[in-house]
């Protein structure tokens, strides 16, 4: 399995991950090598096997829909890159 440099760029965009143009070939090569390892899996028949998401097949525990946390907005916003009037600031999304 070989990934093209175009595919690598597409995946990087899906992940919103900046990668240097000069590194694209290396990522394409590394990812292709990793995908080669994956072909080992296809030799094993798993038609009757259920996918395993939790080591002990436990279900996600749910809790009552009640407020447990106190608001810590100020403390959380004190470490944010840019805030104003209790809001997180990002570049303009709508014109």
């Amino acid at each position: 399995m070989t990934l093209s440099t175009e595919q690598v760029k597409k995946i990087a965009y899906l992940a919103r991950l900046g990668i240097d143009e000069k590194d694209v070939d290396t990522y394409a090569r590394d990812l292709s090598n990793i995908l080669d390892l994956m072909t080992q899996m296809s030799e094993t028949n798993t038609d009757e096997v259920q996918p395993m998401a939790h080591p002990m097949d436990k279900k996600q525990r749910l809790r009552a829909d009640a407020v447990l946390e106190i608001s810590q907005r100020e403390s959380f916003q004190s470490i944010a890159p840019q805030v104003d009037s209790g809001l997180y600031l990002v570049p303009k999304v709508l014109d």
Binding site: M41, V90, P91
Partner: protein
Amino acid sequence: MHNKTITELSKALREREFSSVELTQSYLDRIKKHNALNSFITINEEMALEGAKVADTILANTNTNLLTGIPIAQKDIFCTQGVKTSCGSKMLDNFISPYNATVVENFNNAGAVMLGKLNMDEFAMGSSNETSFYGSVQNPWNTNCVPGGSSGGSASAVAARLTPAATGTDTGGSIRQPASFCGITGLKPTYGRVSRYGMIAFASSLDQAGPMTRSAEDAALLLQTMSGFDTKDSTSLDIPVPSYSASLNNNLEGLKIGLPKEFFSEGLNNDVAQTIESAINEYRKMGAEIKEVSLPHMKLSIPVYYIIAPAECSANLSRFDGVRFGYRCSEPKDLNDLYIRSRGEAFGDEVKRRILMGTYALSAGYYDAYYIKAQKVRRLISEDFKQAFAEVDVLMGPVSPSPTFGLGEKTADPIEMYLADIYTIAVNLAGLPAISIPAGFADEKPVGLQIISNYFTESHLLNIAHKFQQTTHWHQLSPKGFE
């Protein structure tokens, strides 16, 4: 005092041989003296001494926890309120956590003193501690060699006696492999035993925190403090915590040990193989029965792990977007540019490789072929262990095919590094507990024996490890220059 076990230190504190402030200061001095190891990212001098002072007043009273006044160090993956929590990444270089991880909170409640935060591979992705934004860490046994990873700073610091004990996390071997490389004891508990709340997530279905210490006896004390049900972690399991110290000396007569033949096949270094064989012989002398077993799907654990872990990492690391905390690029021209450049500028090479791999495996058209297929084979790997534990009590084998290697020696080819995780990652995929204990040396480099047991039988693992440490001296040896 830095060669004493935690039990000895605790006794000395109670008997006023020295105070927690004196003990803490002596470790802080050692950390500074050996800073070339680069095992710490943050040294917490002021807060540590303040904490020690408080501990000393508590120690003046009766009935204190055994860890009261004992210095420990946290892997920098655990959120520590008011203290930088970097996870080894430029992304969080400016992140002062607004809250404590449950593990940290548990140590605070026990009165332990935090010396600082330990170096690690970036976001715990790596097997040599060379992916850290803060530079690589030296192995005190040979300072030209890696300490292993991702909990490399923890292993290096404990081996060099810069802290009596440390925490680590293990997603694919990140406690056991550095413990093996640095000649210390490292325990990865059952998935769900220790709360993951406030432990920065890498692969949520695999991550588990555990103790890294100089002996099984000390590991029992730390695990006691770390374990327990936590409503703040939806994957924490509500299962009673036994007294880990109580069963340390149980007799091992009739213990059934399985040796998975896949652990002793091609690729295993000869000197490591011999060291492991003589360690197993020690158990034979104690009356254990040894038999060969098989984990036929184990070789598939590499491809399965390198699908599941990157897939979960790509989802978990999407939270680092430059909006609410962490690194933000300068002058983003729009929102997409803010995401792309913040992440591109702040994540290192290995983290990017895994995000790309995971994003690909989860993308439309490939999800079934990779992620679901990997989840299915994961079950087969887990079933292999179930069958093995129907025949034997525990499994033993090496932690890593070779001992520590030179800094920079394996950074060129990521796959080569991945393949060396072969003996550790199946345990994470199955969610089982396992321990690495010092078993001897290969080419003057420490070698760890891995012991794997059934779910929630950490006390048995610690018992088996402790008995070995009662008849061998490997765990007591100090690296030259760090005595």
